[in-house]
């Protein structure tokens, strides 16, 4: 299976639907019988990235591309951007609001979890210009 592309719209501040795109990706990979460990790594990255957009970004998009040897996630938003990416990557650091923390967000592990689970990850962001996080997962033979 190669050349599969999916796009999901992510609505800012919509905590009712937040995470649904990642759940759908997880389900898709399960039906395609990907390795369960790989599915979990991809699902965690997708979900953390999606939640970051809902919490901090403007509206955004989750783009998935599946090729024969790699799965790519491309999560972009029209939000405020990240002023200090290195700081944002620090475990425990969070800019979640008080209201978001009451919902269980703000652990400050989102970006670290993504970096740990993806085979590679790049973040492009500038204040006022939005944020784009791209991750790649290399597929072993048999998915």
């Amino acid at each position: 299976m190669s050349g599969l592309r999916k796009d999901f719209f992510i609505r800012a501040r919509d905590f009712i639907h937040a995470g649904e795109a990642s759940i759908r990706i997880q389900h898709l990979l399960k039906t395609m019988q990907f390795d369960p460990h790989l599915i979990r790594r991809i699902a965690v990255c997708s979900y953390e990235g999606e939640m970051n957009v809902v919490m901090h970004g403007g509206d955004g998009r989750l783009h998935m591309e599946l090729e024969s040897d790699v799965l790519k996630l491309d999560i972009s938003d029209a939000g405020p951007g990240i002023p200090d990416i290195e700081l944002a990557m620090r475990p425990g650091y969070s800019t979640a609001s008080d209201e978001q923390r009451e919902m269980g967000f703000g652990a400050g592990m989102g970006l670290p979890n993504m970096k740990k689970n993806a085979d590679d990850m790049t973040i492009e962001s500038q204040p006022g210009r939005g944020t784009r996080v791209r991750m790649r997962f290399f597929l072993n033979e048999g998915g």
């Binding site: 905590f15 009712i16 937040a18 995470g19 649904e20 990642s22 759940i23 997880q26 369960p36 979990r40 699902a43 965690v44 979900y47 953390e48 939640m51 919902m103 269980g104 967000f105 703000g106 652990a107 400050g108 592990m109 989102g110 670290p112 979890n113 740990k116």
Partner: protein
Amino acid sequence: MKLAEIVRTLEATVLAGEAKLDSDIVRCGASDLMSDILAGLAEGSLLLTGLTTLQAVRTASIAGVGAIAFVRGKIPPAEVVQLADAHGLPLVSTPCSMFVACGRLHACRLTGLNGNR
């Protein structure tokens, strides 16, 4: 330990997933922080939490959690139970506090998410 035994140990009420009470649970995590749940290996585990939100169910589903136990007698809204049902995720509610629930399960030889006690 079977989920059914956990339910008895925690004096819990089953809210969803009655069909899965025969599942085996070996590891437990206790957290109210979504990304902390995702930071560790949670496959097939029991998640103890006080967060009765849609997000807790989705986070648990993403992490592959085996069952959720809400502590302090919390009962989630209907839409949360429906979402758990849709994901096939058992939900139970225990009157125990987080500390007591953890203590009882630790005494039953269950381990933390990384296998430690």
